[in-house]
Protein backbone atom coordinates (compact mmCIF):
# COMPACT_ATOMS: atom_id res chain seq x y z
CA UNK A 1 0.00 0.00 0.00
CA UNK A 2 1.52 3.19 -1.09
CA UNK A 3 -0.56 5.74 0.66
CA UNK A 4 0.00 8.95 2.44
CA UNK A 5 -1.64 7.50 5.50
CA UNK A 6 0.00 4.16 5.96
CA UNK A 7 3.55 4.10 4.81
CA UNK A 8 5.57 0.96 5.17
CA UNK A 9 7.44 1.73 8.30
CA UNK A 10 11.13 2.10 8.58
CA UNK A 11 10.89 3.65 12.00
CA UNK A 12 9.94 0.99 14.45
CA UNK A 13 9.50 1.35 18.14
CA UNK A 14 12.75 -0.41 18.75
CA UNK A 15 15.48 2.10 19.34
CA UNK A 16 17.91 2.19 16.50
CA UNK A 17 20.97 1.64 18.69
CA UNK A 18 19.93 -1.90 19.60
CA UNK A 19 18.89 -2.95 16.10
CA UNK A 20 21.57 -5.27 14.77
CA UNK A 21 21.82 -7.14 11.46
CA UNK A 22 21.04 -10.26 13.46
CA UNK A 23 17.46 -9.02 13.51
CA UNK A 24 16.89 -10.12 9.91
CA UNK A 25 15.96 -13.62 11.07
CA UNK A 26 13.55 -12.05 13.50
CA UNK A 27 11.77 -10.36 10.60
CA UNK A 28 10.31 -13.72 9.70
CA UNK A 29 9.07 -14.09 13.24
CA UNK A 30 6.95 -10.99 12.68
CA UNK A 31 5.74 -12.40 9.38
CA UNK A 32 4.65 -15.55 11.17
CA UNK A 33 2.98 -13.60 13.97
CA UNK A 34 1.06 -11.35 11.58
CA UNK A 35 0.12 -14.37 9.48
CA UNK A 36 -1.31 -16.26 12.45
CA UNK A 37 -3.39 -13.29 13.62
CA UNK A 38 -4.61 -12.62 10.07
CA UNK A 39 -5.62 -16.27 9.83
CA UNK A 40 -7.42 -16.35 13.18
CA UNK A 41 -9.54 -13.24 12.57
CA UNK A 42 -10.58 -14.65 9.18
CA UNK A 43 -11.48 -18.15 10.37
CA UNK A 44 -15.27 -17.65 10.04
CA UNK A 45 -14.92 -16.44 6.44
CA UNK A 46 -12.45 -19.18 5.53
CA UNK A 47 -14.61 -21.83 7.12
CA UNK A 48 -17.70 -20.63 5.25
CA UNK A 49 -15.72 -20.58 2.00
CA UNK A 50 -14.50 -24.16 2.57
CA UNK A 51 -17.95 -25.47 3.46
CA UNK A 52 -19.45 -23.77 0.41
CA UNK A 53 -17.30 -25.99 -1.86
CA UNK A 54 -18.09 -29.25 -0.09
CA UNK A 55 -20.72 -31.69 -1.32
CA UNK A 56 -23.53 -32.19 1.21
CA UNK A 57 -22.27 -35.59 2.38
CA UNK A 58 -18.82 -34.22 3.20
CA UNK A 59 -20.10 -31.28 5.25
CA UNK A 60 -21.59 -33.49 7.92
CA UNK A 61 -18.93 -36.18 7.89
CA UNK A 62 -15.77 -34.24 8.55
CA UNK A 63 -16.18 -30.59 9.40
CA UNK A 64 -12.45 -30.06 9.83
CA UNK A 65 -11.22 -31.38 6.49
CA UNK A 66 -10.88 -29.21 3.39
CA UNK A 67 -13.21 -30.22 0.54
CA UNK A 68 -12.05 -33.58 -0.88
CA UNK A 69 -14.14 -33.28 -4.03
CA UNK A 70 -14.90 -29.58 -4.44
CA UNK A 71 -18.20 -28.66 -6.01
CA UNK A 72 -19.89 -25.50 -7.22
CA UNK A 73 -23.35 -26.98 -6.68
CA UNK A 74 -24.16 -24.76 -3.72
CA UNK A 75 -23.37 -21.62 -5.67
CA UNK A 76 -25.49 -22.86 -8.56
CA UNK A 77 -28.31 -23.65 -6.11
CA UNK A 78 -28.21 -20.28 -4.49
CA UNK A 79 -28.08 -18.42 -7.79
CA UNK A 80 -30.37 -20.49 -9.99
CA UNK A 81 -32.50 -22.93 -8.02
CA UNK A 82 -36.09 -21.82 -7.85
CA UNK A 83 -37.36 -21.17 -4.38
CA UNK A 84 -34.38 -19.07 -3.46
CA UNK A 85 -34.82 -15.35 -3.66
CA UNK A 86 -31.11 -14.81 -3.30
CA UNK A 87 -30.49 -13.09 -6.66
CA UNK A 88 -33.21 -10.58 -5.80
CA UNK A 89 -31.78 -10.00 -2.31
CA UNK A 90 -28.41 -9.41 -3.93
CA UNK A 91 -29.84 -6.98 -6.48
CA UNK A 92 -31.72 -5.18 -3.69
CA UNK A 93 -28.50 -4.78 -1.70
CA UNK A 94 -26.69 -3.43 -4.76
CA UNK A 95 -29.49 -0.96 -5.55
CA UNK A 96 -29.70 0.17 -1.94
CA UNK A 97 -25.93 0.60 -1.56
CA UNK A 98 -25.40 2.38 -4.88
CA UNK A 99 -28.50 4.53 -4.39
CA UNK A 100 -27.33 5.50 -0.92
CA UNK A 101 -23.89 6.48 -2.21
CA UNK A 102 -25.46 8.73 -4.87
CA UNK A 103 -27.96 10.34 -2.51
CA UNK A 104 -25.31 10.94 0.14
CA UNK A 105 -22.85 12.50 -2.32
CA UNK A 106 -25.46 14.67 -4.01
CA UNK A 107 -26.64 16.02 -0.66
CA UNK A 108 -23.32 16.16 1.19
CA UNK A 109 -20.92 17.71 -1.33
CA UNK A 110 -22.81 20.96 -2.05
CA UNK A 111 -23.97 21.26 1.56
CA UNK A 112 -20.45 20.81 2.92
CA UNK A 113 -19.18 23.46 0.52
CA UNK A 114 -21.91 25.82 1.67
CA UNK A 115 -21.11 25.11 5.33
CA UNK A 116 -17.31 25.35 5.13
CA UNK A 117 -16.79 28.01 2.44
CA UNK A 118 -19.96 30.06 2.29
CA UNK A 119 -20.55 30.12 6.02
CA UNK A 120 -23.93 28.42 5.91
CA UNK A 121 -25.24 27.65 9.39
CA UNK A 122 -21.83 27.81 11.02
CA UNK A 123 -19.73 25.15 12.70
CA UNK A 124 -22.57 23.76 14.76
CA UNK A 125 -23.82 21.79 11.76
CA UNK A 126 -20.53 19.89 11.61
CA UNK A 127 -20.63 19.34 15.37
CA UNK A 128 -24.19 18.09 15.31
CA UNK A 129 -23.31 15.84 12.37
CA UNK A 130 -20.54 14.31 14.47
CA UNK A 131 -22.92 14.04 17.39
CA UNK A 132 -25.61 12.40 15.31
CA UNK A 133 -23.09 9.89 14.09
CA UNK A 134 -22.52 8.76 17.65
CA UNK A 135 -26.15 8.15 18.58
CA UNK A 136 -27.43 4.58 18.38
CA UNK A 137 -29.54 3.88 15.30
CA UNK A 138 -31.95 1.98 17.52
CA UNK A 139 -33.33 5.30 18.80
CA UNK A 140 -34.62 6.02 15.32
CA UNK A 141 -36.09 2.62 14.62
CA UNK A 142 -39.59 3.22 16.01
CA UNK A 143 -39.93 6.77 14.61
CA UNK A 144 -38.69 5.55 11.22
CA UNK A 145 -41.16 2.68 11.23
CA UNK A 146 -44.03 5.09 11.91
CA UNK A 147 -42.76 7.70 9.44
CA UNK A 148 -42.20 5.13 6.69
CA UNK A 149 -45.70 3.69 7.13
CA UNK A 150 -47.11 7.19 6.70
CA UNK A 151 -44.97 8.02 3.66
CA UNK A 152 -45.56 4.65 2.01
CA UNK A 153 -41.83 3.90 2.12
CA UNK A 154 -42.21 0.61 4.03
CA UNK A 155 -40.51 -2.26 2.24
CA UNK A 156 -39.25 -0.16 -0.66
CA UNK A 157 -35.74 0.27 -2.02
CA UNK A 158 -36.20 4.06 -1.85
CA UNK A 159 -37.10 3.77 1.81
CA UNK A 160 -33.97 1.82 2.68
CA UNK A 161 -31.89 4.25 0.63
CA UNK A 162 -33.32 7.09 2.72
CA UNK A 163 -32.65 5.22 5.98
CA UNK A 164 -29.07 4.44 4.97
CA UNK A 165 -28.50 7.99 3.74
CA UNK A 166 -29.65 9.14 7.17
CA UNK A 167 -27.10 6.81 8.80
CA UNK A 168 -24.23 7.86 6.52
CA UNK A 169 -24.70 11.57 5.84
CA UNK A 170 -23.01 12.64 9.08
CA UNK A 171 -19.91 10.62 8.19
CA UNK A 172 -19.82 12.11 4.68
CA UNK A 173 -20.15 15.67 5.99
CA UNK A 174 -17.43 15.13 8.61
CA UNK A 175 -14.94 13.63 6.12
CA UNK A 176 -15.67 16.11 3.33
CA UNK A 177 -15.48 19.15 5.59
CA UNK A 178 -12.11 18.14 7.00
CA UNK A 179 -10.78 17.53 3.46
CA UNK A 180 -12.21 20.82 2.23
CA UNK A 181 -10.54 22.60 5.13
CA UNK A 182 -7.20 21.33 3.83
CA UNK A 183 -7.66 22.84 0.36
CA UNK A 184 -6.20 26.37 0.14
CA UNK A 185 -8.99 28.87 -0.38
CA UNK A 186 -6.83 31.08 -2.64
CA UNK A 187 -7.47 28.75 -5.58
CA UNK A 188 -11.19 29.40 -5.37
CA UNK A 189 -10.65 33.12 -4.92
CA UNK A 190 -8.54 33.19 -8.06
CA UNK A 191 -11.33 31.44 -9.94
CA UNK A 192 -13.83 33.99 -8.63
CA UNK A 193 -11.60 36.84 -9.81
CA UNK A 194 -11.53 35.20 -13.23
CA UNK A 195 -15.28 35.43 -13.22
CA UNK A 196 -16.29 31.84 -12.40
CA UNK A 197 -19.60 31.51 -10.58
CA UNK A 198 -19.79 29.77 -7.20
CA UNK A 199 -21.35 26.69 -8.79
CA UNK A 200 -18.73 26.64 -11.54
CA UNK A 201 -15.95 26.92 -8.95
CA UNK A 202 -17.42 24.06 -6.94
CA UNK A 203 -17.85 21.87 -10.01
CA UNK A 204 -14.62 22.41 -11.92
CA UNK A 205 -12.12 23.47 -9.24
CA UNK A 206 -13.11 22.13 -5.83
CA UNK A 207 -14.63 18.81 -6.85
CA UNK A 208 -11.51 17.50 -8.66
CA UNK A 209 -9.39 18.45 -5.64
CA UNK A 210 -11.82 16.66 -3.33
CA UNK A 211 -11.87 13.54 -5.51
CA UNK A 212 -9.82 11.24 -3.21
CA UNK A 213 -12.08 12.01 -0.26
CA UNK A 214 -15.17 11.60 -2.42
CA UNK A 215 -13.90 8.12 -3.33
CA UNK A 216 -13.25 7.31 0.33
CA UNK A 217 -16.74 8.46 1.27
CA UNK A 218 -18.31 6.52 -1.60
CA UNK A 219 -16.52 3.29 -0.64
CA UNK A 220 -17.30 3.61 3.05
CA UNK A 221 -20.95 4.48 2.44
CA UNK A 222 -21.27 1.57 0.00
CA UNK A 223 -19.87 -0.86 2.58
CA UNK A 224 -21.93 0.48 5.48
CA UNK A 225 -25.17 0.45 3.47
CA UNK A 226 -24.47 -3.02 2.12
CA UNK A 227 -23.84 -4.18 5.70
CA UNK A 228 -26.89 -2.59 7.31
CA UNK A 229 -29.09 -5.04 9.14
CA UNK A 230 -31.15 -3.23 11.77
CA UNK A 231 -33.04 -0.86 9.46
CA UNK A 232 -33.51 -3.62 6.88
CA UNK A 233 -34.97 -5.83 9.61
CA UNK A 234 -37.48 -3.19 10.61
CA UNK A 235 -38.25 -1.49 7.31
CA UNK A 236 -38.36 -4.36 4.84
CA UNK A 237 -40.66 -7.35 4.73
CA UNK A 238 -40.22 -8.96 1.32
CA UNK A 239 -39.81 -6.61 -1.65
CA UNK A 240 -36.77 -4.70 -0.43
CA UNK A 241 -35.02 -7.42 1.59
CA UNK A 242 -31.22 -7.12 1.25
CA UNK A 243 -28.70 -9.96 1.57
CA UNK A 244 -27.82 -9.29 5.20
CA UNK A 245 -31.36 -10.21 6.09
CA UNK A 246 -31.84 -12.74 3.30
CA UNK A 247 -28.75 -14.79 4.14
CA UNK A 248 -29.74 -14.92 7.80
CA UNK A 249 -33.22 -15.98 6.73
CA UNK A 250 -31.82 -19.05 5.00
CA UNK A 251 -31.03 -20.48 8.40
CA UNK A 252 -34.49 -20.43 9.86
CA UNK A 253 -36.48 -21.04 6.71
CA UNK A 254 -34.51 -23.86 5.15
CA UNK A 255 -32.97 -25.15 8.34
CA UNK A 256 -30.24 -27.53 7.36
CA UNK A 257 -28.94 -26.57 3.93
CA UNK A 258 -25.56 -25.56 5.29
CA UNK A 259 -23.76 -25.72 1.96
CA UNK A 260 -26.21 -23.30 0.37
CA UNK A 261 -26.11 -21.01 3.39
CA UNK A 262 -22.31 -20.90 3.19
CA UNK A 263 -22.37 -20.09 -0.49
CA UNK A 264 -24.95 -17.36 0.10
CA UNK A 265 -22.97 -15.81 2.95
CA UNK A 266 -19.72 -15.89 0.97
CA UNK A 267 -21.37 -14.30 -2.08
CA UNK A 268 -23.01 -11.65 0.09
CA UNK A 269 -19.67 -10.71 1.61
CA UNK A 270 -17.83 -10.39 -1.68
CA UNK A 271 -18.86 -6.91 -2.89
CA UNK A 272 -17.80 -5.00 0.24
CA UNK A 273 -14.63 -7.10 0.54
CA UNK A 274 -13.62 -6.50 -3.08
CA UNK A 275 -14.35 -2.82 -2.72
CA UNK A 276 -12.33 -2.69 0.46
CA UNK A 277 -9.32 -4.40 -1.08
CA UNK A 278 -9.28 -2.36 -4.29
CA UNK A 279 -9.94 0.96 -2.62
CA UNK A 280 -7.83 0.21 0.41
CA UNK A 281 -5.67 3.30 0.31
CA UNK A 282 -8.72 5.58 0.19
CA UNK A 283 -10.52 3.50 2.73
CA UNK A 284 -7.78 3.47 5.32
CA UNK A 285 -7.43 7.24 5.20
CA UNK A 286 -11.19 7.57 5.40
CA UNK A 287 -11.53 5.22 8.35
CA UNK A 288 -8.68 6.66 10.32
CA UNK A 289 -9.28 10.33 9.59
CA UNK A 290 -12.92 10.84 10.37
CA UNK A 291 -12.34 7.79 12.49
CA UNK A 292 -16.03 7.18 12.54
CA UNK A 293 -17.35 3.86 11.38
CA UNK A 294 -20.81 2.35 11.05
Amino acid sequence: MSTTTVRPSTASIRPRATRKPAASGRKWLFTALAGVVALIVNVPLLNAALVSFKPDGEIAKNPLAPPASPTLDHYANVLYASGYDFPRFFLNSALIAIGTVLVVLVIAIPATYAIVRLGFGGRWIISSASGLRLLPAIFFVVPFFILFSTLGLQDTIQGLIAANAFLNLPLAIILLSSALGDIPQEIEEAAAVDGASIYRTLGSIVLPLLAPTVVAVAVLVFIFSWNDYLFALVLSTSNATPVTLGAANFITSTGIRWGDISAASVLSTLPPLLFAVFAQRYLVSGLSSGAVKG
Binding site: R16, K27, W28, A48, F120, I138, L169, S178, N227
Partner: protein
Amino acid sequence: MPHTVERAKTIAAERHKRTFAATVLSLPLILFAAVFVLYPLASGALTAFQSSTLLDQSNELNGIDNFVSLFRSDGFAKAAGFTVGFSAIVVALEMVLGFALALVMNRAFPGKKLFFTLLLLPIMIAPALLGVMFRLLLNGDIGALPTLLESVGLSVSLFSPDSVVPLLVVLDVLQWTPFTFLIIYAGLQSLPKELLEASAMDGAGYFRSLFSVVVPVLKPVLFAAFFLRAIDAIRTFDVIYVLTAGGPGTTTTTLSIFIYKTAFEAGDFGKAAAAALVVLLCLIPFVPFIVRRISSTGMEARR
Protein backbone atom coordinates in the same frame (compact mmCIF):
# COMPACT_ATOMS: atom_id res chain seq x y z
CA MET B 1 -17.76 59.68 -3.87
CA PRO B 2 -19.63 57.66 -6.47
CA HIS B 3 -16.79 55.12 -6.53
CA THR B 4 -17.24 54.06 -2.92
CA VAL B 5 -21.00 53.71 -3.32
CA GLU B 6 -20.45 51.58 -6.36
CA ARG B 7 -17.98 49.38 -4.49
CA ALA B 8 -20.28 49.02 -1.51
CA LYS B 9 -23.03 47.99 -3.90
CA THR B 10 -20.86 45.34 -5.54
CA ILE B 11 -19.79 43.96 -2.16
CA ALA B 12 -23.40 43.83 -1.00
CA ALA B 13 -24.42 42.14 -4.25
CA GLU B 14 -21.54 39.70 -3.85
CA ARG B 15 -22.55 38.87 -0.29
CA HIS B 16 -26.14 38.45 -1.39
CA LYS B 17 -25.04 36.10 -4.14
CA ARG B 18 -23.03 34.01 -1.68
CA THR B 19 -25.92 33.75 0.77
CA PHE B 20 -28.23 32.75 -2.03
CA ALA B 21 -25.77 30.13 -3.31
CA ALA B 22 -25.27 28.78 0.22
CA THR B 23 -29.00 28.32 0.59
CA VAL B 24 -29.38 26.65 -2.79
CA LEU B 25 -26.49 24.28 -2.13
CA SER B 26 -27.75 23.35 1.35
CA LEU B 27 -31.38 22.96 0.37
CA PRO B 28 -31.25 19.18 -0.22
CA LEU B 29 -29.61 18.71 3.18
CA ILE B 30 -32.14 20.95 4.91
CA LEU B 31 -35.07 19.09 3.37
CA PHE B 32 -33.59 15.69 4.11
CA ALA B 33 -32.70 16.61 7.69
CA ALA B 34 -36.17 18.01 8.31
CA VAL B 35 -37.91 14.84 7.17
CA PHE B 36 -35.48 12.12 8.28
CA VAL B 37 -33.70 13.63 11.30
CA LEU B 38 -35.70 16.36 13.04
CA TYR B 39 -39.13 14.86 12.52
CA PRO B 40 -38.12 11.34 13.71
CA LEU B 41 -36.32 12.83 16.72
CA ALA B 42 -39.40 14.79 17.70
CA SER B 43 -41.87 12.02 16.97
CA GLY B 44 -39.70 9.49 18.81
CA ALA B 45 -39.61 11.69 21.87
CA LEU B 46 -43.39 12.18 21.63
CA THR B 47 -44.09 8.44 21.21
CA ALA B 48 -42.30 7.87 24.52
CA PHE B 49 -45.21 9.66 26.21
CA GLN B 50 -47.95 7.95 24.21
CA SER B 51 -49.74 4.64 24.51
CA SER B 52 -48.71 3.65 21.01
CA THR B 53 -48.43 0.06 19.80
CA LEU B 54 -47.42 -1.76 16.65
CA LEU B 55 -51.07 -2.36 15.77
CA ASP B 56 -52.58 0.83 17.07
CA GLN B 57 -50.58 4.01 16.82
CA SER B 58 -53.38 5.86 18.56
CA ASN B 59 -51.13 8.68 19.75
CA GLU B 60 -52.93 9.00 23.07
CA LEU B 61 -50.80 10.73 25.64
CA ASN B 62 -50.27 8.68 28.77
CA GLY B 63 -47.80 10.80 30.68
CA ILE B 64 -44.90 8.90 32.16
CA ASP B 65 -46.65 5.50 32.16
CA ASN B 66 -44.17 4.10 29.64
CA PHE B 67 -41.22 5.08 31.79
CA VAL B 68 -42.85 3.65 34.91
CA SER B 69 -43.49 0.30 33.23
CA LEU B 70 -39.98 0.39 31.75
CA PHE B 71 -38.33 0.75 35.14
CA ARG B 72 -40.76 -1.67 36.83
CA SER B 73 -39.89 -4.48 34.41
CA ASP B 74 -36.45 -5.86 35.13
CA GLY B 75 -35.73 -6.45 31.43
CA PHE B 76 -34.46 -2.94 30.85
CA ALA B 77 -32.10 -2.92 33.84
CA LYS B 78 -30.77 -6.36 32.88
CA ALA B 79 -30.20 -5.31 29.28
CA ALA B 80 -28.45 -2.14 30.43
CA GLY B 81 -26.25 -4.14 32.81
CA PHE B 82 -25.36 -6.68 30.15
CA THR B 83 -24.63 -3.98 27.57
CA VAL B 84 -22.34 -2.02 29.88
CA GLY B 85 -20.50 -5.12 31.15
CA PHE B 86 -20.13 -6.64 27.71
CA SER B 87 -18.89 -3.36 26.23
CA ALA B 88 -16.37 -2.79 29.02
CA ILE B 89 -14.84 -6.24 28.58
CA VAL B 90 -14.69 -6.29 24.78
CA VAL B 91 -13.35 -2.76 24.51
CA ALA B 92 -10.62 -3.41 27.08
CA LEU B 93 -9.54 -6.57 25.26
CA GLU B 94 -9.69 -4.92 21.85
CA MET B 95 -7.59 -1.97 23.03
CA VAL B 96 -4.83 -4.17 24.44
CA LEU B 97 -4.79 -6.61 21.53
CA GLY B 98 -5.14 -3.85 18.93
CA PHE B 99 -2.19 -2.01 20.44
CA ALA B 100 -0.06 -5.16 20.52
CA LEU B 101 -0.93 -5.89 16.91
CA ALA B 102 -0.15 -2.32 15.88
CA LEU B 103 3.29 -2.66 17.48
CA VAL B 104 3.92 -5.86 15.54
CA MET B 105 2.73 -4.34 12.27
CA ASN B 106 4.73 -1.16 12.84
CA ARG B 107 7.86 -2.97 11.67
CA ALA B 108 9.03 -3.84 8.21
CA PHE B 109 8.83 -7.56 7.49
CA PRO B 110 8.24 -9.82 4.48
CA GLY B 111 4.58 -10.10 3.45
CA LYS B 112 3.48 -7.09 5.46
CA LYS B 113 1.25 -5.57 2.75
CA LEU B 114 -0.68 -8.78 2.30
CA PHE B 115 -1.25 -9.34 6.00
CA PHE B 116 -2.29 -5.73 6.46
CA THR B 117 -5.05 -6.25 3.90
CA LEU B 118 -6.09 -9.57 5.42
CA LEU B 119 -6.19 -8.10 8.91
CA LEU B 120 -8.67 -5.44 7.86
CA LEU B 121 -11.14 -7.83 6.22
CA PRO B 122 -13.24 -8.54 9.34
CA ILE B 123 -14.16 -4.84 9.63
CA MET B 124 -15.65 -4.93 6.15
CA ILE B 125 -17.88 -7.95 6.70
CA ALA B 126 -21.48 -7.22 7.67
CA PRO B 127 -21.90 -8.20 11.32
CA ALA B 128 -25.14 -9.98 10.40
CA LEU B 129 -23.35 -12.06 7.75
CA LEU B 130 -20.52 -12.75 10.15
CA GLY B 131 -23.21 -13.98 12.53
CA VAL B 132 -24.36 -16.43 9.86
CA MET B 133 -20.77 -17.61 9.37
CA PHE B 134 -20.35 -18.08 13.10
CA ARG B 135 -23.51 -20.19 13.23
CA LEU B 136 -21.88 -22.43 10.69
CA LEU B 137 -18.56 -22.54 12.50
CA LEU B 138 -20.09 -23.17 15.92
CA ASN B 139 -22.92 -25.52 14.98
CA GLY B 140 -23.05 -28.53 17.30
CA ASP B 141 -23.37 -31.08 14.46
CA ILE B 142 -21.38 -29.78 11.55
CA GLY B 143 -19.38 -26.90 12.99
CA ALA B 144 -15.59 -27.02 12.79
CA LEU B 145 -15.02 -25.64 16.28
CA PRO B 146 -17.14 -28.11 18.31
CA THR B 147 -15.63 -30.92 16.23
CA LEU B 148 -12.15 -29.65 16.98
CA LEU B 149 -12.93 -29.36 20.69
CA GLU B 150 -14.36 -32.88 20.74
CA SER B 151 -11.31 -34.28 19.03
CA VAL B 152 -9.18 -33.01 21.90
CA GLY B 153 -11.64 -34.44 24.42
CA LEU B 154 -13.54 -31.27 25.30
CA SER B 155 -17.26 -31.23 24.95
CA VAL B 156 -18.59 -27.78 25.62
CA SER B 157 -22.05 -26.63 24.81
CA LEU B 158 -21.10 -23.26 23.35
CA PHE B 159 -24.54 -21.68 23.52
CA SER B 160 -25.35 -22.77 27.07
CA PRO B 161 -26.04 -19.92 29.53
CA ASP B 162 -22.60 -20.39 31.10
CA SER B 163 -20.50 -20.19 27.98
CA VAL B 164 -22.54 -17.98 25.70
CA VAL B 165 -21.31 -14.67 27.10
CA PRO B 166 -17.58 -15.50 26.89
CA LEU B 167 -18.30 -16.84 23.40
CA LEU B 168 -19.84 -13.57 22.28
CA VAL B 169 -16.92 -11.67 23.82
CA VAL B 170 -14.47 -13.72 21.77
CA LEU B 171 -16.46 -13.18 18.58
CA ASP B 172 -16.64 -9.43 19.10
CA VAL B 173 -12.91 -9.30 19.80
CA LEU B 174 -12.23 -11.26 16.59
CA GLN B 175 -14.18 -8.80 14.49
CA TRP B 176 -13.21 -5.48 16.05
CA THR B 177 -9.60 -5.83 17.21
CA PRO B 178 -8.65 -5.04 13.59
CA PHE B 179 -10.45 -1.72 14.02
CA THR B 180 -8.56 -0.59 17.15
CA PHE B 181 -5.43 -1.91 15.44
CA LEU B 182 -6.04 0.30 12.40
CA ILE B 183 -6.57 3.49 14.41
CA ILE B 184 -3.58 2.87 16.70
CA TYR B 185 -1.38 1.82 13.77
CA ALA B 186 -2.18 5.06 11.93
CA GLY B 187 -1.21 6.90 15.11
CA LEU B 188 2.06 4.98 15.47
CA GLN B 189 2.95 5.81 11.88
CA SER B 190 2.64 9.50 12.63
CA LEU B 191 4.99 9.41 15.62
CA PRO B 192 8.04 11.56 15.02
CA LYS B 193 11.10 9.36 14.69
CA GLU B 194 13.28 11.77 16.65
CA LEU B 195 11.25 11.04 19.75
CA LEU B 196 12.27 7.42 19.74
CA GLU B 197 15.83 8.11 18.75
CA ALA B 198 16.16 10.52 21.64
CA SER B 199 14.85 8.01 24.12
CA ALA B 200 17.13 5.32 22.70
CA MET B 201 20.03 7.71 23.09
CA ASP B 202 19.12 8.11 26.74
CA GLY B 203 19.48 4.35 27.03
CA ALA B 204 15.83 3.48 27.48
CA GLY B 205 14.87 -0.15 26.82
CA TYR B 206 11.97 -1.28 24.65
CA PHE B 207 9.22 -1.36 27.25
CA ARG B 208 10.58 1.68 29.00
CA SER B 209 10.36 3.81 25.87
CA LEU B 210 7.04 2.21 25.00
CA PHE B 211 5.38 3.26 28.25
CA SER B 212 7.13 6.53 28.91
CA VAL B 213 7.34 7.86 25.34
CA VAL B 214 4.98 6.12 22.94
CA VAL B 215 1.89 5.73 25.14
CA PRO B 216 1.80 9.34 26.39
CA VAL B 217 2.28 10.77 22.90
CA LEU B 218 -0.30 8.40 21.47
CA LYS B 219 -2.85 9.15 24.18
CA PRO B 220 -5.27 11.12 21.97
CA VAL B 221 -5.27 8.36 19.38
CA LEU B 222 -5.83 5.73 22.06
CA PHE B 223 -8.75 7.76 23.40
CA ALA B 224 -10.25 8.02 19.92
CA ALA B 225 -10.01 4.27 19.36
CA PHE B 226 -11.45 3.64 22.81
CA PHE B 227 -14.44 5.96 22.42
CA LEU B 228 -15.31 4.80 18.91
CA ARG B 229 -15.31 1.19 19.99
CA ALA B 230 -17.17 1.93 23.22
CA ILE B 231 -19.95 3.70 21.32
CA ASP B 232 -20.30 0.86 18.85
CA ALA B 233 -20.12 -1.81 21.52
CA ILE B 234 -22.96 -0.12 23.40
CA ARG B 235 -25.22 -0.26 20.35
CA THR B 236 -24.32 -3.88 19.46
CA PHE B 237 -27.19 -5.59 17.72
CA ASP B 238 -26.49 -7.58 14.55
CA VAL B 239 -24.12 -10.41 15.50
CA ILE B 240 -25.79 -11.15 18.81
CA TYR B 241 -29.29 -10.96 17.36
CA VAL B 242 -28.40 -13.34 14.52
CA LEU B 243 -26.58 -15.76 16.85
CA THR B 244 -28.67 -15.88 20.00
CA ALA B 245 -31.56 -13.43 19.47
CA GLY B 246 -30.72 -12.21 22.96
CA GLY B 247 -31.08 -15.64 24.57
CA PRO B 248 -30.96 -18.09 26.19
CA GLY B 249 -33.66 -16.33 28.20
CA THR B 250 -32.46 -12.76 28.31
CA THR B 251 -28.80 -13.57 29.06
CA THR B 252 -27.45 -11.81 25.98
CA THR B 253 -30.08 -9.12 25.45
CA THR B 254 -28.33 -5.84 24.68
CA LEU B 255 -30.16 -2.52 24.97
CA SER B 256 -30.60 -2.45 21.19
CA ILE B 257 -32.09 -5.94 21.19
CA PHE B 258 -34.30 -5.03 24.15
CA ILE B 259 -35.66 -1.96 22.36
CA TYR B 260 -36.16 -3.88 19.11
CA LYS B 261 -38.01 -6.71 20.87
CA THR B 262 -40.14 -4.34 22.93
CA ALA B 263 -41.21 -2.56 19.75
CA PHE B 264 -41.60 -5.35 17.24
CA GLU B 265 -42.15 -8.53 19.25
CA ALA B 266 -44.08 -7.20 22.23
CA GLY B 267 -45.43 -4.46 19.94
CA ASP B 268 -45.15 -1.75 22.60
CA PHE B 269 -43.95 1.29 20.66
CA GLY B 270 -44.45 3.65 23.58
CA LYS B 271 -42.27 1.65 25.93
CA ALA B 272 -39.62 1.05 23.25
CA ALA B 273 -39.50 4.77 22.48
CA ALA B 274 -39.23 5.49 26.20
CA ALA B 275 -36.31 3.06 26.50
CA ALA B 276 -34.62 4.63 23.46
CA LEU B 277 -35.10 8.08 24.97
CA VAL B 278 -33.55 7.00 28.27
CA VAL B 279 -30.53 5.50 26.44
CA LEU B 280 -30.22 8.64 24.35
CA LEU B 281 -30.33 10.91 27.41
CA CYS B 282 -27.65 8.79 29.09
CA LEU B 283 -25.38 9.05 26.03
CA ILE B 284 -25.88 12.72 25.14
CA PRO B 285 -23.69 14.14 27.94
CA PHE B 286 -20.75 12.20 26.49
CA VAL B 287 -21.27 13.37 22.91
CA PRO B 288 -19.62 16.84 22.96
CA PHE B 289 -16.69 15.42 24.92
CA ILE B 290 -16.20 12.58 22.45
CA VAL B 291 -16.68 14.81 19.41
CA ARG B 292 -13.95 17.11 20.69
CA ARG B 293 -11.60 14.19 21.36
CA ILE B 294 -12.16 12.62 17.98
CA SER B 295 -12.04 15.75 15.89
CA SER B 296 -8.75 16.76 17.49
CA THR B 297 -7.14 13.36 16.93
CA GLY B 298 -8.78 12.46 13.64
CA MET B 299 -6.76 15.13 11.88
CA GLU B 300 -3.56 13.93 13.47
CA ALA B 301 -4.12 10.29 12.60
CA ARG B 302 -4.61 11.23 8.97
CA ARG B 303 -1.14 12.58 8.44
